[in-house]
Amino acid sequence: MTEHVGRQAGRDVRPSQWERTTRHRLIAGEEGALNEIYDQFASFVYGLALRVIGDARAAEDVSQDVFVTFWERPDAFDPDRGSLRTWLGTLAHRRAVDHVRREEARRRRAIKDAARPTTTPDVEEMAIALVTAERVRSALDTLPDDQRRAIQLAYFGGKTYRQVAEVLGIPEGTAKSRLRLGLRRIAGVLETETVGRSE
């Protein structure tokens, strides 16, 4: 029986049909597919970049870079190895961290939400994403303070684990294990309910 939902290297659920179809449409150069992806993931990519960089202009540049990269090389995303959200998020985070590490001085400023009506290409997935993000927010609140602090410094602060260790005044090995343990707990929460699947 080939009904095997085996854990491939990158994901423990099968890729959604939407991901496969959209990827093919992008490979065919369909602009409408890019629009859909933008509408579905722009808030995620932009919000993450902004949180890491703290500068709206630079966050827009990173967001543009992420979507254009996917447009140019849609085949670099392999749906069997992880969700599109994870692929876009990984790319956005790397670009944002690169930016932060290039810029010594970081400016953080409050950004007001500028809402705009958008089409909603995959309403169900977007609703799941909202619920999942909310669950992760609660899960973060229940993490031990030391793990949460380490994760925030590393992921949103763009710091290496060595810098995290320095900031927190803990051994580097401790910083490493706090990051890993904290992420494992969040992963565990995501796996406890089907709604935790990533797109």
Binding site: E31, S43, F44, G47, A76, A133, Y155, Y161, L179, A187
Partner: protein, 93 residues
């Protein structure tokens, strides 16, 4: 499992958060190629990191949409018919 491998396993959380040095990233990536259990753990941790990132979602300024589309259009000609370079995102498993 060797001591080195254990040390590389310990780096997986930091790696999933892009919080390792360049040399360490190279070492982890080589390790992922020969250690399926590590690639699997990384996928879990990276998914978790992604959802942590998703808690910060924020609607971008409306003009970003057009900016992205214009940039995409201007590169469309070069985008098609060109093979993708090495995957910048997935670990090389």
């Amino acid at each position: 499992m060797s001591t080195d491998d254990t040390m590389l396993d310990e780096l997986l959380g930091a790696y999933a958060l892009d919080a390792v040095g360049a040399d360490e990233a190279v070492a982890v990536e080589a390790y992922l190629e020969r250690a399926p259990h590590a690639a699997q753990e990384l996928a879990r941790l990276r998914n978790a990191a992604t959802w942590i990132g998703a808690t910060e979602a924020l609607t971008p300024p409306p003009e970003l949409h057009d900016t992205v589309l214009e940039a995409a259009r201007s590169r469309r000609a070069t985008a098609l018919g060109r093979s993708a370079p090495d995957d910048p995102c997935w670990p090389s498993t």
